[in-house]
Every structure is written in C-alpha cells, then in structure tokens.
Symmetry: C2
Subunit: 205 residues, 2 copies
Amino acid sequence: MASSDDQAVRATIVAAADRLYYARGIQNVGMDAVRAEAGSSLKRIYGLFPSKDLLVAAVLDHRTAMWWSGVDRAAAGAQTPREQLLSVFDFLNSWFRQDDFRGCAFINSFGELGATSPRVSEKVRAQKESFHSYVRDLVRRAGLADGVALQVTLLVEGAQTVAAITRDRDVVPQARRAAVVLLDAAAAEAGDSRAGQGAVPADGR
Amino acid sequence: MASSDDQAVRATIVAAADRLYYARGIQNVGMDAVRAEAGSSLKRIYGLFPSKDLLVAAVLDHRTAMWWSGVDRAAAGAQTPREQLLSVFDFLNSWFRQDDFRGCAFINSFGELGATSPRVSEKVRAQKESFHSYVRDLVRRAGLADGVALQVTLLVEGAQTVAAITRDRDVVPQARRAAVVLLDAAAAEAGDSRAGQGAVPADGR
DNA sequence: GACGGTGGAGAACGGGCGTTCTCCATGCGG
DNA sequence: CCGCATGGAGAACGCCCGTTCTCCACCGTC
C-alpha cells in the first residue's frame, strides 16, 4: 500500500497540529482547524489518528524529536561534557528568541491536560525524566556528583517557564551563569576530598 | 444590601472554584461543577461574577494571596535577608508535600489559557514579576548584585515545574543547596566582608 | 462507456458548556 | 391574608467540538 504516502501525510498533519496546539493550546484547537491547517480531510486524519488523544500523543513525540535535535545541534561543537552541558543554554537562547516562542510545549500540555489525560501526563514525564537523565550522564562524565544534575535541570526548566511568562531577556544568560557557578562548585567539591557530601537527609542513591 | 454576606459567599465560591480548577484544570470544570462544589446557585454565582473569565481572575487573585501568605509564614522566623530568601524553599517543601499538589496554578493556567485569555496571561505575569521583585529586594538588602535574584527565581520556578511533573523528592533540597551556592558566589563577588560567613547553615533548617 | 472503489467536502449527531430564563418556595410588610 | 421581592433549582438556548456518515467527483480497468 501507499505506506510512504501515509508517512508523509502523517508528518504533515502532525506538523500542522503542532503549530496550532503550540500557538493556541490543545483544547482551543478543534479537529476542523487541524484539517484546514494540514490541507487534508477529516476522514484522512481519523484514518491515521483514531482519536484526538492519539494525535496529541504524536505531536508530543514530534516535540520530543525537535527538542533532542536542537540539543544535539547545540552540543555538536562541544569538546567536553562540561561544554555539552552549557551548550544547552545556547539552544535555549536561540529557541527563546523565536517570535512564536510560547514556552515549553510539554509544560503547557501538562498544565492543560495533565490532570485528565494519563497519556499526555506520561509523555510529559518521560520527556522531562529523559532530559534529566541526559544531564546526569554528562555530569557523571564530568566527574561530578549527581546532585548538580538536578540543579542544572531546575535552571533549564525554570528558564523555560520564566521566559515564556515574562519574556525577560536576561533569563538565559543568568541561567547559564548560574550553571557555571554550580558546576564549578561541584568540581571544587569533587576535587576537594570525598568528605564533601551534601548534608542531605537520606542521600543514599 | 447584604454586602458582608456577599463577601462571604464570594469567598466560598472562589475557594470552591479554586479547588476544582487546581485539581482538574480550568477548562475541564464547568460552571455547574463550581455551583455544586460551592453549594450555591448559578444565579448567585453570575450575580457576583458576571462571567467565567472574571471568576477565573478572582481565583488567581486568591492564589496570589495564598502564595504570599505561605511565603510570609515561612519567612517569619528569618533574621536576615539571606535567611528570608532561603525560607522560600521551606515554603516550597511543605507545599510540595501536600498530596493534592499539582504544580503552580499560575503556570498551569498560563499553559492552558495564556494564549487566548489576556486577562489570565496578565495576572500570571504580574504574579511572577512580583515574586521576582520580592527576591530582588531581598538580594539587594543582602548587598548582592541583582543578577543572583533572577538566578534564585529560576530555581524556584524550576522546582515548581519539575516537582509537579516528576514528583522527585530531591527537588527542593537540591534547589535550596543550589541557591546557597549561588548566594555565596554572589557574596564573594561583592567582596562583602561578611561574605564567607554562614555558608551552609548546617542543620539550620 | 460502465463500474467499483478511493478519498474529499462537509453535513449530521451526540454531548458538553457558558449563559440566561422560567418557575416556584419562602419570608416579610401591609 | 395578600402581594411581592428574593433567591434556589434546573430547564432552555446557542454554540463549539469530537466523531461518524452521506454524498459525490475522480480514476483505472473491462
């Protein structure tokens, strides 16, 4: 069958839905608007995505791919784990500058549907945990304690939230500067001696 | 007019709507559900709030009051601006522990309605900017550069986002530790004579 | 040219929701 | 006891939306 055609149409529909959902919010975009934006027909859409929920899931997968593509592109020139970690902020910087920037699609979707759609909720959690895991891996390769990975992750997520809401231009530079300070502090602690464990209750990971 | 009665009923309705909106998302809660939860009538509700949009605005105002009340309570025992800054994380900690915690209502509302409701968008922005301003004031009183205020704000917002999505227990402790590092670094930079003191208030929590 | 099937346009259906309206019970001043 | 304002219950209205269905134009095959 025309499976390759199907793949192309699928991609067109997902891209169209993504544009609309991101700009207006998922619940504010009807299937008819998606149809119009994709230049397709409802029958075709429902043939490829049996329900709106599944289309939303496909859009989130698409967003995941876009995210990693941006992260990878920014990390391409980095030589060390530390540089790779900091390159995330270069990615954020170019992303936030786009005039259609409206925050993190995952965070927005979670706010909108997290309480009612387990599918959405699960996709969002998977994406966030996978990014945290990516950061943790780089932190380990840099020879630092895991804790700083969560710290950097908080900066990245906070930057997305604050940039979306306030459009403050200093967000990414400050986030990056904070990350540098935190990485340096963790490096100093690691270089010090193994005595330097945080005073956290139950840090038995 | 029974204006004091009106005030009490207003508060009841707002509290009921807040509970439902926070738990399920604004768009997933109809006026009829609010009526049932508030034990009131639609006529009464529409007499006090001419439209759902205005009820939502009142709910956001209510959330703002709750936020500052929590922040103030946590800051009550703090002696210095630095302690006040760190007490924010104590507030977050007790908040995130509540089993009905579902993230920051402002961030959720923004994700849901930010693109379509200027009123919501504006309230959210005002709340976030007012918190940033609160942090900046404390940072200044601690004799530190403004930049670190944004850094701490990013940690606070990131903590709310990540805690909502992943329910990771380490979020607040790590956010607090990161804040300490950032404040210390800013103090060292400021060349303040008292900078190095009180680096990590051991079990001070 | 007839024909079956493919896919598009868009109407139709069922349900939900914001908002308004109708009807009625209640209580109070004459 | 009557009239009337008050406010509750919930039906009604209009609209939107997810999903399905109907109709029809088009295309390759006999």
